[in-house]
C-alpha cells in the first residue's frame, strides 16, 4: 500500500504530488449543454424585463379576438388567447419550470443518495428494509401516482417539488446503492475499515468521491426527467395552475390552439425541448468526458 493510500485510509492530510498531466478528452457536448442551460437560466432570470405575464394588453388581440402572432408590434412572441404577452409568459413559465427542476432535483438526489448510502453500508436488515421501500416506489407508475400525490399535497410550485421528489428519489437510491455495493468490496475501502476508520468517514472520504461522477450524471439526467414530469403534471392540470405560467400549462393551452395560433404551442415547446436537451447534453458530456470518473479520480494512483 502506498504512503498516500495509507494516509488516506487513516483520514490524514498529506501533500499529494502533482498528478501526471493527462490529456482529458474534452467533450463539446458538455459545453454546449452548459451554454444552453446558462442561456435558458439567463432568459428566465431576466423575465421581469419582458413585463408582467398577467397583464391583458388592450392591443393584445385582433378585433375578432384572435391572439397576435410572432413578431407583432410590441409583442415579439405574440400574445395568448387572453391578450397576454407570450414572451413574458414563456420567460416566467421557464423560470417556474427551472425552479421546480432544480429544487426537485436537489431534494430527490439528496434523499436518494442518503438512502442509497445507508442501505449499502449497513447490515442486511437496514439494507433489505430500505431497498424494499425503494422497490415499492419504483413500481408505482409515475404519472398516475404524480396525479394522486398532487391532489394530496396541493398544486402549487412547492407541491409539485414534493411530488417530483417523492417520484424520483428511489431511482437515485437504487443507483447509489448499487455503486456502494460495488465499492465497498474494493481494497481501499477494506483497508480503511481494517484500520478502524468509522463507517461515516469511509462513506464521506472513500465512497462518496468515487460515486460523484455517477451522481453528477444522475443529476443531469434527472434534471431532464424532472422537467418533463413537472411540465407533464402541469399539462395534465395537476401542477402549477393558471394564470401562473409554467411550461406545462402553457403547452396545455397552446395545444388547443394549434390550428389557428400555432405559436402558442411552439414557443413553450421550443423552450421545453431546449431545457430537456441542455440537461441531456450535460449528462452525455459528463459521461464522455469522464475526467471525474473512478478510473481517473484524483484518488487513483
Amino acid at each position: 500500500m502506498s504512503t498516500i493510500v495509507a494516509a488516506a485510509v487513516r483520514d490524514e492530510h498529506v501533500e499529494v504530488p502533482a498528478k501526471p498531466t493527462k490529456t482529458v478528452r474534452r467533450s463539446k457536448l458538455l459545453y454546449i449543454g452548459l451554454t444552453l442551460l446558462g442561456l435558458l437560466i439567463l432568459f428566465a432570470a431576466v423575465a421581469p424585463l419582458f413585463g408582467s405575464p398577467y397583464v391583458l394588453h388592450r392591443d393584445g388581440l385582433t378585433d375578432l379576438g384572435s391572439p397576435l402572432g410572432i413578431l407583432s408590434p410590441g409583442h415579439l412572441a405574440g400574445t395568448d388567447s387572453l391578450g397576454r404577452d407570450l414572451l413574458a409568459r414563456s420567460a416566467s413559465g421557464l423560470r417556474a419550470t427551472l425552479v421546480i427542476a432544480i429544487a426537485a432535483n436537489v431534494t430527490s438526489m439528496l434523499v436518494g443518495t442518503v438512502v442509497g448510502l445507508i442501505a449499502g453500508s449497513f447490515g442486511p436488515v437496514v439494507q433489505q428494509g430500505l431497498m424494499r421501500v425503494v422497490d415499492v416506489f419504483l413500481s408505482i407508475p409515475i404519472v398516475l401516482s404524480g396525479l394522486a400525490l398532487a391532489s394530496i399535497v396541493g398544486r402549487g410550485m412547492w407541491g409539485i417539488v414534493v411530488v417530483v421528489t417523492a417520484l424520483y428519489w428511489a431511482w437515485t437510491a437504487r443507483l447509489v446503492y448499487g455503486e456502494v455495493l460495488r465499492l465497498r468490496g474494493r481494497g481501499f475501502v477494506e483497508a480503511a475499515a481494517v484500520h478502524g476508520v468509522g463507517k461515516l468517514t469511509i462513506l464521506r472520504r472513500h465512497i462518496l468521491p468515487h460515486i460523484s461522477t455517477v451522481l453528477l450524471n444522475i443529476a443531469a439526467l434527472n434534471g431532464a426527467a424532472v422537467v418533463v414530469i413537472g411540465a407533464g403534471l402541469s399539462y395534465l392540470g395537476a401542477g402549477i395552475q393558471p394564470p401562473q405560467p409554467e411550461l406545462g400549462n402553457l403547452l396545455a393551452s397552446g395545444s388547443t390552439a394549434i390550428d389557428y395560433a400555432p405559436h402558442l404551442l411552439l414557443v413553450p415547446l421550443v423552450l421545453t425541448i431546449a431545457t430537456v436537451l441542455s440537461f441531456v447534453l450535460i449528462a452525455e458530456g459528463i459521461n464522455r468526458r469522464n475526467s471525474l470518473s473512478e478510473r481517473q479520480s484524483w484518488l487513483d494512483i
Binding site: V55, L56, R58, L61, T62, D63, L64, G65, S66, P67, S81, L82, G83, P243, T256, A257, D259, Y260, A261
Partner: protein, 555 residues
Amino acid sequence: MSFDAVSRRKFLALGGVGAVALALASCGRTTVPGAQMVGPPSGVPAAPPGPGDVMHGRSGGSVVTAWTAEGNSYDAQLGYDLHSWEAVTSLLYLPLFRFEGQAGGAAPAAAAALPEISEDGTRYVIRLRPDVKFHNGRPVVADDYVYAWRRLLDPATESWASGYFGSIVGSEDYLAGISTALPGVYAQDDLTLIVELSAPDVTFTSLMAQPYAAALPREEVERLGEEFSRTPVGNGPFMITSYDTKNRRSVFVRSPYYPWPGLPFLDEVVYRWGIDPSMQFLQLQNGDVDILGEGLTPTIAERVQGNPELRETYTKFIPVLGAGWAALNVATDKLADPRVRQALNWATDKDQLAKYSRGLQKSWGAIIPEDEPDYQRIVPPYSYDLTRAKALLKDAGVDSLELEFFCNDDDYWKSASLVLQQQWAEINVDLNITTLSNAAFWTALDNGEADVFGRQFYQVQPTGLDILASNFVTGASSNFQGYSNPRVDDLAGRSLASLTREESNAHLARAEALVAEDAPGVFIGSLQFYAMRSPRVQNYQMRAETGTYYDRIWV
C-alpha cells in the same frame, strides 16, 4: 421499368416520397367553399314570412342539427330552451303571424291578414287562413286558438309564457284560478278569432307570432297526454315521427298539410343532442352534422374566428338584437350608491371587452342595443373615462372597494371577468372572481352572494322593451340585480300600453335614461350572432327570435 430494376435505395426513396405525398394529401382537408349557390328555380309561388326567398331550391334530402342538451319540451307552451324553442318555432307549429324579412315585424302566417285593431287598441279581429291543417289532417279553426290560449293561461299547464297574455280580458282571474271563464278570447266563427284586451298592448301582435300562441288540437293533446311534450301534433312545416331518448335524436319529416305548396324543400330534419360544442364543430367539419343549433358559441369562437377558412366556410352572420352587461347587485351596501355603479361603467373599456367575445358582442355602453330599429335614445351610452370614474368614486367617498364576481362555466364571462378585474383595479376596485357550476351559480345569485355577475339577453320581440321590461322592471322574471325604480316601472308600462311603436319607443327611451342613471349594471355590449352550418346547406336563413328557417333550406 420492371420491379427487378428498382434498387433497394430507389424503392425506399419512392416509398418515402409516396408516404410524404400521402401525408400531405391527408393533411389538406378538402373543404367546400362556404359561398351559397343560387340553385335551380323552385317553382314555389309563395312562402310564409321570414328572411330570404324560395324562388330557387330543390326538394328532397335531409339535414342534421346538433344540440348541446336535450330540449325541455316540444309542447309549444312549455318549450323554452334553445333546442325546444327552435323545434316549436321553426318545425312543429305555425303561429298566426311570423316576423317578416330579417328585421321586420309581424306578418300573416296562419292568419289571413294582419289583425283589425280597434281605435282604442283593445279589440283584435283575426281572420284565419282556411287551408291551415294540423299534422293529423284536421283543419285549424278559431276554436283551436281559444282552446290553446285557455290552456296557456291555465295554472295547471305551468307555462312559462302565461304572463305574456296577461292583458287579455279575464286573464288575471283565470290565471289565479278564481274563474274558469276567459271572456277576452272567443271564436266568432270557424275562421274569425276575437281578442279583447283590458288595456292596449303594443307588443300583442308580436306575441301572436310566438309559438306559444299557436293553435293546438284538443283531441291530440288529450289523447297523447304527457307524450304531447315529446311527440306533439302541430301545424308547422314538419311533423315529428320519432323521439328517441336513448339514442338522443328526434326525427321530423315534411308535413303534407303545410299550406304553401312546394314547401318545405327538405324531406327530413334530424335533431341530435348531448354533444359538447367542440365535438359538434368536429362533426360539422366531418359532415356528420349540418347545422349547429346554438350557432357559434364562445367555446369554439376563438378557433373559428382565428381561422379565415373555417370562418368563411361554416359561419353566417345573423343580425340580432340583444344586450350584454355585468349585473350589479344593488341590494348590497357596497353598490347601493348609484355614483359607485356609474363609476364602474365609466371605468370599463368596452372595446377591450368586446374582443374577448370573439365577435359575438360589439362594444356598446347602453342597455338598448345600438341597432334597435326606429329607436331614438335620449341618453348617450357610457364610454371609457377613467377620470370621471375616479371623480365619481371620490364624490361617493369611496377610496377602495372589494367586489365578488361570480361566473358560471361560460367561456366569455370567464375571460371578461379577468378583463374587468384588471380595468377596475385602476380605480382601486378589487374584483374577486369565483367560477361555479351552472346550478351553483344560480343558487348563489338567488342567495344574493354575488356583487357582480355576467348577463346576456336576446330580444325575442322586435322592441327593446323586451330587454328592459324583462330585466329592469321591479320583480321582473330576469331582474336578478334586485333593481327597482317606480318611474322605470311606470314608463315601461306606458311603453307597453302605447298604441303606436313611436309612442312606445319614446317612453322606452325615457325609461332607458333612468336605468342608465341608476346603473344597475355595467353595460358593455350589443350581442351578435354567427350561425354555424355546413356548406351543403343552401338558403340558410335565421332570426334570433325564431332560429333556423327549415321551411326554405335546401341541400
